[in-house]
């Protein structure tokens, strides 16, 4: 959210001037009725939905991390929601923000044929409960998010890296991870690497 | 002297060379036939229509590096291809390619030896060939070959039982174990045994497919499952020996099928005098033509059918072929006793 207090950027974050603070989550237009299952959700799991957003036809709800499992269970089991398929789990990294990760669950209902995105915000080491117990298909998807972002999933049956080698250092999809890869220095000595990088950037500015 | 040593030696040289040449050209034939089945051309580059391809293959295989894996059992690893090749070749000793003919005024029989346990000899020698595969899998010290060799030993032993049982029904018909006598028995009976023993023939042929590791029973070398099976770790000439042994075995099975069920060197309807003009074709030619038909079927089957799974293969062997073969044997015996 735009009005959230911005914590100071972590020491190793790139000093990008205009890093966006977070996604734009436009509220639904006033003349658009919210889907019924959202009302049921708010009623059954109180305090679960902190924000509802609507953009180019997609509904998104933001959920506190603590409520994630409750919301997920409700969304799967409530007859008017019936989101039996977790079609995607992914994350977005917003580095300046304290809760830097948006973990996004794209849900789909094969019965009602509707979609919803559920979002939780998580800090770097904050545990996020795994939804693998609710949708078994989330297993690999969460592993990928863990692999790429380092989101701390808890209760995951098999939390290993999936795409990168097991001994890989760093999380490639984070915004402060260089595109060209870490190079050997980062692999062996991340602190020296950061110093070298900062020196280079300073040289660039001068 | 000449009759005792020179002629048999000459015969051995001729048969051995013809076999090896035939085997190499079997490879070309297979590639060509499968290519035609799959609407492509097959080898076309070496010689006109690729007929020199076997030469190129042989040269390539000979000059290839011969690798022995570090942790392999070296002696066994080297012996395995030889063990699989030798039985495939010495079986030809008792296969009759034709009757006794007169060559330069001297009677020459178109077989190396007529042993009175000829059929048993073939079966027993063939049963030793399985060691080549088992040992190759064991000696490679690698998991895929090991799995393949386990499959192979189980498969070959199971199908050997069925095949041997069908042979017994043929022996009952011919009252002899000698290959030459079996052909003569078919001449005397005036009918090829395939028409008297159709069940035995079908079981024999299916068993033959399985014993030579051919599709749809090519599990020990199923490339898609076991990356080449028992010869995964082999290269160069040692690999070539396995390859040659497989094709030599195919020729053996075809020859035995011809001899036992399709009258060997006999022309069609050997007792019908009206078809006497067929005798312009020499007897060994009939034998080769009949064997060739079987070889063609071998290749044809490979181009058409998917592969069985291991357990299905064993089920077919034990629950279908062996009971059928036993039933066939019993019926043959009863009929034999009743008719006399």
């Amino acid at each position: 959210m735009a009005d959230e207090p911005k914590p100071p950027a972590p020491a190793h974050a790139p000093p990008k001037a205009a890093a966006p603070a977070g996604p734009t989550e436009p509220a639904p237009p006033a003349d658009l009725a919210q889907p019924a299952y959202l009302a049921t959700l708010s009623a059954e799991v109180p305090g679960s939905v902190t924000a509802v957003s609507y953009f180019v036809g997609d509904w998104t709800i933001v959920v506190p991390v603590a409520q994630l499992l409750g919301v997920a269970c409700h969304l799967r089991d409530a007859p008017d929601a019936a989101f039996d398929c977790c079609s995607d789990v992914t994350a977005t990294d917003w580095p300046p923000r304290a809760e830097r990760f948006d973990v996004v669950y794209c849900l789909y209902s094969t019965r009602h044929r509707h979609r919803i995105r559920v979002k939780v915000r998580a800090a770097e080491l904050q545990p996020v409960p795994s939804v693998t117990g609710i949708w078994s298909g989330a297993n690999w998807l969460e592993r990928e998010v863990f692999d790429m972002f380092g989101v701390n999933f808890t209760g995951h049956p098999d939390r290993r890296r999936i795409l990168m080698p097991d001994d890989w250092q760093g999380y490639p999809q984070r915004k402060d991870y260089p595109l060209e890869g870490p190079g050997e220095l980062l692999m062996e000595n991340p602190i020296d690497w950061l110093k070298l990088r900062q020196a280079r950037e300073e040289a660039d500015i001068e | 002297m000449i009759d005792q040593f020179v002629i048999p030696l000459l015969k051995i040289v001729v048969v051995l060379n013809a076999t090896l040449l035939g085997v190499t050209y079997m490879v070309l034939l297979e590639r060509k036939v499968i290519a035609w089945a799959q609407s492509r051309l097959g080898p076309m580059r070496v010689g006109p229509y690729g007929i020199l391809q076997p030469v190129a293959d042989a040269v390539k295989l000979m000059i290839k590096e011969d690798i022995t894996p570090v942790r392999a059992d070296k002696w066994v690893f080297t012996a395995a291809p030889i063990i699989s090749m030798v039985p495939a070749l010495i079986v030809y000793a008792v296969i009759p390619f034709g009757p006794t003919i007169h060559l330069f005024g001297r009677p020459v029989s178109l077989y190396i030896a007529d042993v009175n346990v000829g059929l048993l000899y073939i079966v027993s020698v063939a049963s030793v060939g399985v060691y080549g595969i088992i040992l190759a899998g064991y000696a490679s010290n690698s998991k895929y070959p090991l799995l393949a060799s386990l499959r192979a030993s189980a498969q070959l032993i199971s199908y050997e039982v069925a095949v041997t049982l069908t042979l017994v029904s043929v022996i009952l018909m011919a009252r002899s174990l000698s290959m030459v006598s079996i052909v003569n028995a078919q001449y005397n009976a005036g009918v090829w045994f395939a028409f008297v023993q159709p069940v035995a023939f079908v079981i024999f042929f299916i068993g033959g497919l399985a014993e030579t590791n051919r599709a749809p029973f090519d599990l020990p070398e199923a490339e898609q499952e076991l990356t080449g099976g028992f010869h995964t770790e082999y290269s160069g000439m040692r690999f070539a020996l396995f390859f040659l042994a497989e094709y030599a075995n195919m020729i053996v099975v075809s020859s035995v099928a011809t001899t036992l069920f399709f009258g060997g060197w006999l022309r069609p309807f050997p007792n019908v005098a009206a078809l006497h003009f067929l005798d312009v074709v020499p007897s060994w030619m009939w034998f080769l033509v009949k064997s060739f038909v079987f070889l063609y079927i071998f290749i044809w089957v490979r181009a058409t059918l998917p592969r069985y799974r291991y357990d299905q293969l064993m089920r077919i062997g034990w629950k279908l072929l062996i009971p059928l073969a036993i039933a066939n044997l019993v019926v043959t015996g009863i009929v034999k006793v009743l008719i006399g």
Binding site: - | D73, N116, V117, A126, S127, V130, A154, I157, L177
Partner: protein, 171 residues
């Protein structure tokens, strides 16, 4: 003369391989020597004018039974540490005693056979024309040796059923 040379050569090979079978460390090699041994025994049968027996020897023993041995040996992990071979229950003396007893028995049989005239296997004056070796074996099995033959087949059947009962996880 030639026959004698052939026999003693074969016998030497048979004995040599037999020794190798029991003395080789690697079990698979040991099984392989056993196969070679069987093949030479088959050759001995040929020398004695029994081609049928020779073929059966190769087919059943070399080609069938030993393959199963090999199968088992390859599957069962026999590469144990050396101390496992030091069996506390080893009874060397008993083993030697048994070996000597068997040797004596064999010697006794041999001398008994030498003193008797005529081979016990060939039944003299059998009725019916029996031209070939195969036919002779068949005839003997179904006349003089019918009961041992049947008992042997019963034994094999029992062994087969027993193996199935032991190996099958649930019946």
């Amino acid at each position: 003369m030639g026959q004698a040379i052939a026999f003693y050569t074969l016998a030497a090979f048979i004995l040599g391989f037999a020794v190798l079978v029991v003395s080789t460390k690697d079990t698979v090699h040991s099984v392989l020597f056993l196969v070679l041994d069987f093949l030479f025994v088959a050759a001995l049968y040929v020398l004695l004018g029994a081609p049928f027996l020779a073929a059966i020897q190769v087919l059943v023993y070399a080609g069938g039974i030993v393959v199963l041995y090999l199968f088992v040996v390859m599957l069962v992990n026999l590469k144990r540490p050396p101390e496992a071979h030091q069996d506390p229950h080893r009874r060397t003396k008993l083993g030697f005693g048994l070996a000597v007893a068997v040797l004596l028995e064999l010697g006794a049989i041999a001398t008994y056979g030498m003193t008797r005239t005529g081979s016990p296997l060939v039944v003299p004056g059998t009725n019916g024309p029996l031209p070939g070796n195969t036919e002779q074996v068949g005839w003997l099995l179904y006349t003089s040796y019918l009961i041992p033959f049947e008992i042997a087949s019963m034994l094999l059947l029992v062994a087969m059923i027993g193996a199935i009962v032991l190996a099958k996880r649930e019946l």
